[in-house]
Symmetry: C2
Subunit: 455 residues, 2 copies
């Protein structure tokens, strides 16, 4: 009996190309709009924020984009990440399902985020950039860019949502260990930060505000660019190493997924694992059910409008067409900080509109319940974000049991929970709240969106 529990590939099997789903979609993605004119942006409009190589990737329609050798060299430290067969979890669930997970928690910063952080830092260094500004919520992205900055000799300034900055000193310590500077947002270092602090000196901050601060500084300084850890097309692109590796590992396993599952905040770990499978399907390959899982307290894909919106609170960023709860919406408190974003990545939104994927939402308590069950079976404590994928995977496996059918279920374990143990303490003490989002606030936020003339 073949009872392998992890499928390992050698360094040479790290993908040589990122996969661009745009090339295989039946329709082109809607254009990105300028925040002032509401007209489609050109490369020059984005140049203050990003190096040209990334702007080119953002709008590329090429199917394959070569991964530069220096990026692959850094990837080799932890890639290809292992594909695990969760045999002990299957046994605990007494399910005929075959459950697989891709473990992105093995990266230096503990999540999938370094896949794009390393690429972005590389292209910035090639463009002669010395500083990068960014935002972070839970800290997964900030610590990943801090790591990438250390590798390529770029100074990183991370604007960290103040409530997380205060609650998660160890994430902050990780960024500082890598040599990054970490600033609580809203801060006094930017006009957008100062404006908010003038109204409320104790403002807890939000991802939208932190983005405004980071973008504002990058736009002002010649040697400084901005980096975003999700949402944008080039970020989705860089993450496709996950799904490409998984496809090769499924060949080793002599299997193919019936269902692919990932959690969605801005959509990047989801795109990373799902897009290569969707692309294969669009090119005539096997059909795969793809499920995006989001928090009930911030349900952009399942409850948001598909509309043009800004990426940030101060409306400094371009507008993209996406599923959104409105850029002025603030979700109620929950632990998966990486899923607390008003909008969904435009490409993920588009495949949802095209009917290529499903979406569902869970409250956090059942997700932590699944995460603890997973940890006791498989030994790995997932990040709160990843627990959403674990919940859906377990539910699909239980459905297999009910129906007496063996399906192959793949989910992306986007990160480990080593810096999120307070959430597990709260869960085990019965102190997690499953808050509903305010529907009227979303309605108001959506009503405030700019009206964009039809193309």
């Amino acid at each position: 009996m073949n009872d392998t529990v992890k499928y390992v590939l050698s360094e040479e099997r790290i993908p040589k190309f990122w996969y661009n789903l745009t090339a295989d979609l039946p329709v082109p993605p809607p254009p990105v709009l300028h925040p002032g004119t509401l007209k489609p942006v050109g490369p020059d409009d984005l140049a203050p924020l990003f190096p040209m190589a990334l702007i080119a990737q953002e709008v590329s329609t090429e199917r394959e984009i070569e991964i530069p050798q220096p990026v692959r060299e850094v990837y080799r430290q932890w890639r290809p990440s292992p594909l695990h067969r969760a045999r002990r979890l299957e046994k605990a669930l007494d399910t005929p399902a075959r459950i697989y997970f891709k473990n992105e928690g093995v990266s230096p910063a503990g999540s999938h985020k370094p896949n794009t952080a390393v690429a972005q830092a590389f292209y910035n260094r090639e463009a002669g950039i010395r500083h990068i500004t960014t935002e972070t919520g839970a800290g997964q992205w900030g610590s990943s860019l801090a790591f990438a900055g250390a590798v390529f000799g770029i100074e990183i300034d991370v604007y960290m949502v103040r409530v997380s900055y205060n609650q998660k000193p160890y994430r902050r310590a990780l960024m500082e260990t890598y040599g990054a500077r970490c600033v609580a947002s809203p801060s006094n270092e930017t006009a957008s930060g100062r404006a908010i602090l003038a109204k409320n000196p104790n403002h807890p901050g939000s991802l939208g505000i932190a983005i405004s601060e980071a973008v504002e500084l990058a736009a002002q300084r010649d040697d400084t660019k901005y980096a975003l850890g999700s949402v944008l097309n080039h970020v989705m692109l860089h993450q496709t190493v996950i799904g490409q590796e998984a496809m090769a590992q499924f060949e080793l396993a002599n299997d193919y997924p019936d269902v692919v599952i990932a959690c969605t905040g801005g959509g990047s770990n989801f795109a990373g694992i799902a897009f290569p499978f969707l692309g294969a399907q669009l090119r005539g390959g096997k059909h795969v059910r793809v499920i995006a899982v989001e928090p009930s307290a911030c349900p952009s894909l399942t409850k948001g409008a598909y509309a043009y919106d800004f990426g940030d609170t101060a409306h400094l960023t371009p507008l993209t067409k996406m599923h959104t709860l409105g850029s002025s919406f603030t979700p109620p408190g929950f632990h998966a900080g990486g899923l607390r974003y008003h909008g969904m990545g435009p490409l993920v939104s588009l495949v949802k509109e095209l009917g290529l994927i499903e979406a569902r939402a869970y409250h956090q308590t059942p997700c932590f319940e699944a995460g603890v069950q997973f940890a006791r079976a498989e030994g790995i404590v997932p990040a709160p974000e990843s627990n959403h994928a674990v919940r859906a995977a377990i539910d699909e496996a239980l459905r297999c049991k009910e129906e007496g059918v063996s399906r192959s279920i793949l989910f992306n374990l986007s990160g480990h929970g080593h810096f999120d143990m307070q959430a597990y303490i709260d869960y085990q003490a019965g102190n997690l709240l499953d808050l509903e989002y305010a529907e009227d606030e979303v309605a108001l936020a959506l009503a405030g969106l700019p009206s964009v003339p039809a193309e």
Copy 2:
């Protein structure tokens, strides 16, 4: 150019045997003595604490002991652990040295400890044991046994040194996530705990006290045994998967270490990586310099006596001949909780006495300096314990640079530091103290050792 950065083996390459150094030593290890009679113990004396299979391993002189299939099945989740070539660190140091590290931080609990926790839990389950008691300091061992208990369906009670229990709630949360019960020691659950609390209700606890509590309970209950995470021969044995894998990985790298380095608390991660290389040397293979690195504040190998001593404070355990600072000695405060033990594993002590290894001691500040340099180059934040090995490896690499010689340096990265970020915060704030141990306290502790008649 072959510029591989990690050497990966497939699951089938997990060793099929543990390697027992005793078989290749020129002298037999000194016997273990009964705490009452001071005469050599027999298997029956140890039976209240350990299942017979482990007692047999403790005194075995067989060179190879087969790893049971169910243990290898659990190992497969993270083993073989990767051997990394630290190319970015080499470049940062501008050294001709070839620096390799074995990354044991990839295990579920984040260190080498699950290698023996899984084996011990398996043999206990085979013996029909339902509960295991143990102690933990920093929490690496407690969380590893908690994981192993979850896998084999054994209830785990961890007596955690009170000061760590209070300072490290996230380690505790990890154990509880795995389903273990974690109790602050000294506790009211044991006679030894109550005796100490009667004198000082706020006693901060120590590893020696926590061992007394765990041993006391195991000795009293039929369905309960005790497990120790280091020091004993069978623990060293289980850890030899590390060095055996490293030897296979060095073949892939077409290289062989000139120097092997590991930190030493009780000695198990050191034995794990070093004993297979020492054994090969004793059987006529290539000579390897082996360096044990310990904290200057608890320097058992470099400053302790080689004498018979107890493993615990209440003197409930058998006596072993080892390098010891005296079982009543309490080291001053420092962050590497896993290295805060008065004695050294008997086998590690013996190879030191035989002149087969070197030992050196460092204060914690230069170790954290090395750890941060390593993290910025290689992306992995080491545990405070492992920073001692990193320090010595960097020093050896710098010596290569001075001498203009390229040597191959292997060190064991025994664990990651994700649950030790407070130590990094203290280091970066300049708040680490490099305290000296009290020489008079050691002299007093050593003077109090029982006098054992010569064999």
